[in-house]
């Protein structure tokens, strides 16, 4: 159907992978188009049901499979869309609407409530959001029962009948088919765009997503809007398919079907959940004795998947990533490429911290800290555990708000507690424990770092317009260049969770370089590296600073600090114990004892 349907999880865009993806879609599409030739209305109805469920699941897939938000009650969107469409078309609210307009209204209502139900997901994780969607499904059913004027209460209301060209029979079939194809196309476009990568990053590495400038609330809202709209449209079709709807038609258990279809298909895939939906819709029809037990079996399957293969069944079939990688790989950074990666036009920037103080509960983590980081310098930050090094880094990168003190960039105040706003100031960072999307390729992980450089809007990406393609091309080139610079070019298409720990550290630096950072904050980049790797890392960091980037290096390895830093600040108990050149620090008796003890 489209050339961008290769799912994000397929990792690198190997031609084989692309063809496999496209071929499956073409076959599915042809089968869908040709199905009326069978002239079997029973099979036609099953197919219509599968298409309708998929319209909803395609949107839900972005919420669940990509963004990792556990929306367990999305059947409520189906109910909202169904009642809206049915009530408007039947003239229960004002004059009778044209059924197609009523269907659009169903989508609009779904979109509105998709956003409302999604609100808690912006601030709270998992269980609360799951409970909200469940609660909403409960409420919708209760309202449907009570609001007799509009919904017909327990008695129900007739569903809409669509006029020409999609009149009942094969006409309606093609309406479902077209909308299912459309849902596939737009969600696949989103999935393979920088928005799709951002969603997956929010799912698997939220703090890294924020540090890359991804504004979680905005993008989640857009996705909830889309998923709600698709759910509403599916509901309108569902009402027509059922020809008569009652609250009983929208049981909470139906949500499980949608959910399990996505889980079976694998998180972050489009084709997998589509096949899952078709399978789960058709299965009970061909195994009649099982119908009664189907929800039980789905729930049991859900439990089994969660316990045994949390990545979904598609993970089991991921043969491409079973191929063994070369052993004894070496990371050889190519420092000569750095000028092309960074292209620093002007230097002379400075981040200044003055009298920063911050405490957690009663514990003073930082107690009056002054620190300056300048372009073109490597500034080392050392000190015993709990002396406030990482906390300092988190203040600069916007995760914590200190209780007092100022933070300035080139003299202008930097707002606290806005981590996603740092990317626009070209302040990049890495993490003590590498934060990555394990199921995505190394290349895609690095591309996440350049999200803020994309120009195409959500709608442009959804419709696969030219600006979106240009974004993708630029991000891909930049990411390959960054990977070549840190020496991981050959691993670009490998799933990130197959990398060694040391390789992940370099991958994080490549991701940070995607911002063309004016400042780079490194949190213990040498931890877990071999002596030779530390030497190469040191040379890379030094070279990055010589391109004009200001580097803040939090590190335990004293030799690395003393080798490459221009200035060193020693923290103890949240205060500056000493600051100066490496040579001055080395001869500082108090430092030696505080630091050694640790």
């Amino acid at each position: 159907m489209t050339d961008t349907t290769a799912p994000a999880r397929a990792g690198g865009m190997s031609w084989l992978g692309r063809l496999e993806g496209r071929l499956s879609w073409i076959l599915l599409g042809l089968a869908g188009l040709a199905l009326p030739l069978l002239d079997d209305s029973y099979i036609g109805t099953i197919a219509e049901r599968a298409f309708i469920y998929w319209v909803l699941s395609a949107g839900l897939n972005l919420v669940v499979g990509y963004a990792g938000q556990i929306a367990i009650g999305w059947v409520s969107m189906l109910a909202l869309g169904a009642y809206t469409t049915a009530a408007l078309a039947a003239g229960r609210v004002g004059p009778e609407w044209n059924p197609y307009l009523a269907l659009a209204a169903g989508g609009a209502i779904g979109a509105v409530f998709g956003v409302i139900v999604g609100l808690p997901a912006l601030r709270l994780r998992t269980f609360y959001f799951a409970m909200t969607t469940l609660g909403f499904a409960t409420i919708v059913t209760q309202v449907a029962l009570a609001w007799k004027d509009v919904t017909g209460g327990g008695v129900g209301t007739p569903g809409p009948v669509f006029p020409w060209p999609f009149e009942p029979g094969w006409g309606f079939y093609y309406l479902c088919f077209i909308l299912a194809a459309l849902a596939t196309w737009i969600t696949a476009n989103i999935g393979s765009s920088r928005y799709g990568r951002a969603l997956v990053a929010i799912r698997d590495a939220e703090v890294a997503a924020e540090a890359s400038g991804i504004a979680k609330p905005r993008i989640l809202m857009l996705v909830f809007l889309l998923a709600g709209a698709l759910g509403g449209v599916a509901g309108g079709l569902f009402a027509s398919l059922q020809s008569y709807i009652t609250p009983d038609a929208f049981t909470f258990e139906m949500s499980v079907l949608f959910f399990i279809a996505i889980l079976i298909g694998g998180r972050g895939s489009i084709l997998g959940p589509a096949l899952g939906t078709i399978l789960l819709t058709a299965l009970p029809e061909f195994a009649a004795p099982l119908v009664q037990w189907s929800t039980f079996l789905y729930a049991a399957l859900l439990l089994l998947i969660v316990l045994l293969v949390p990545g979904g069944i598609a993970d089991l079939l991921d043969f491409k990533n079973r191929r063994p990688l070369t052993q004894h790989r070496e990371i050889v950074p190519r420092i000569e490429l750095l000028p092309r990666v960074l292209d620093q036009a002007e230097g002379g920037h400075a981040i200044e911290l003055a009298a920063i103080a911050l405490h957690f509960g009663g514990v003073r983590a930082i107690d009056g800290l002054d620190l300056e980081i300048h372009s073109g310098e490597v500034h080392g930050l050392i000190g015993p555990n709990g002396s406030g090094k990482t906390t300092t880094l988190n203040v600069i990168s916007g995760y914590y708000a200190p209780s007092s003190g100022t933070l300035r960039l080139d003299g202008a105040p930097l707002p606290f507690e806005e981590p996603h706003a740092r990317a626009n100031h070209r302040i990049a960072r890495t993490f003590q424990t590498p934060r990555l999307v394990g199921a995505a390729s190394v290349l895609q992980n690095v591309m996440i770092g350049g999200t803020v450089h994309g120009e195409a809007s959500f709608a442009e990406a959804m419709l696969s317009l030219p600006r979106h393609h240009r974004d993708e091309r630029h991000l891909r080139q930049a990411a390959m260049l960054a990977l070549a610079t840190v020496g991981l070019e050959s691993l670009a298409n490998v799933r990130a969770d197959r990398l060694q720990h040391s390789e992940l550290r370099f991958m994080e630096i490549a991701r940070a370089l995607m911002l063309r950072p004016a400042f780079l904050l490194l949190d213990e980049p040498a931890a877990g590296l071999s002596t030779e790797e530390i030497r190469r890392l040191g040379a890379l960091i030094k070279a990055i600073s010589r391109e004009g980037t200001g580097v803040l290096l939090v590190e335990h390895h004293a030799d690395l600090i003393f080798d490459i830093c221009d200035r060193v600040t020693v923290l103890n108990l949240g205060k500056v114990l000493a600051a100066g050149t490496p040579a001055e620090i080395r001869s500082h008796r108090e430092v030696v004892s505080a630091y050694l003890g640790a």
Binding site: L119, R125, G135, T138, Q142, V143, A300, L302, L303, G361
Partner: protein
């Protein structure tokens, strides 16, 4: 009308409060919110009607058996859905594992028990003509039973947490499970025990509330949600908050049902729930948790 709002509201509120406590008891020992809370409430009614109405046990035996089943289900929940997930990296998968298990139990109930709501037996035979009966008969037992169960549960938990070593061990695990493990506290056994306890409390809620809510498989999702609202209002882990929140919710719901209608009641509860989650996720009564460094 006022009387029926208060009596019905307090009774339903007490059931919500007990389900909220069920969530809390499991949460304290494991940091897991389990969707089995509503399932336990639902089963309290269905199993009670099964044992007493269908199988003809007397009320006391039926009561004990129901609570025993609750305890067993609590243990199964812990072993099957919580323990394996706590070991894995993606701990939030407990949302799905507990939901899946609760749905499986609900489906078995729907198939074996039926999808129609069925009546629950009167537990305490009351002879309205006797002097004692006239006193007890003033307020129907279906209203005071859940309230009594709520009072007994709160009292029992207070005693457990304040007077017994195992209760203190629960509190210790809830506050800092790492330090508790280092001290040699049997974390796994304590978690098992708390899930069994939650099973008892959850089925107690369903059993005492079933003359009002009936033995109905669909109570599961309703209790799951309305039992969690008090937890969100009162702050997670706070049993006092759950009781106040539960009673307030019950009274509000009944008042709104009588005065403005069910649509408004349902929508208003949901709107308040979302607003509290967004504006005060630590609950109306709770204080923001201080983090440890």
């Amino acid at each position: 009308m006022f009387e029926s709002i208060v009596s019905y509201g307090l009774a339903v509120g007490a059931v919500y409060a007990l389900i909220g406590i069920t969530y809390n008891v499991m949460y304290s020992a494991s940091r897991v919110f389990s969707f089995t809370a509503g399932m336990l409430g639902m089963l309290g009614g269905v199993l009670g009607a099964l044992f007493i109405n269908k199988w003809g046990f007397n009320a006391a035996l039926g009561f004990v058996l129901v609570l025993a089943c609750g305890a067993v289900l609590g243990l199964v929940t812990e072993v099957l859905t919580v323990r394996p997930v706590l070991k894995s990296i993606e701990q939030h998968l407990y949302v799905l594992s507990t939901l899946a298990f609760a749905l499986m139990v609900q489906q078995v109930t729907a198939i074996e028990w039926g999808t129609e709501a069925q009546p629950f037996p009167v537990l305490i035979p009351i002879d309205a003509s006797s002097p004692a009966g006239s006193i007890w008969g003033i307020v129907d037992q279906k209203f005071w039973l859940p309230v009594l169960a709520c009072i007994v549960t709160i009292g029992g938990l207070e005693f457990l947490y304040r007077r017994t070593l195992i209760g203190r061990a629960f509190l210790a695990i809830a506050e800092d499970s790492y330090a508790a493990r280092a001290l040699g506290l049997p974390e796994t056994q304590l978690r098992l025990a708390s899930f069994a306890l939650a099973g008892v409390i959850g089925t107690l809620a369903g059993f005492t509330g079933a003359q009002m809510l009936l033995a109905f498989f669909g109570n599961q999702s309703i209790l799951n949600f309305y039992g969690f609202v008090p937890v969100a209002l009162g702050g997670m882990g706070s049993n006092r908050g759950a009781v106040i929140g539960g009673l307030a919710l019950g009274l509000f719901q009944q008042a709104a049902n009588f005065l403005v209608g069910g649509i408004f009641a349902a929508v208003a509860v949901f709107a308040v729930f979302i607003a509290v989650l967004l504006l005060r996720p630590e609950g109306l009564a709770g204080a923001p948790a201080a983090r440890r460094v």
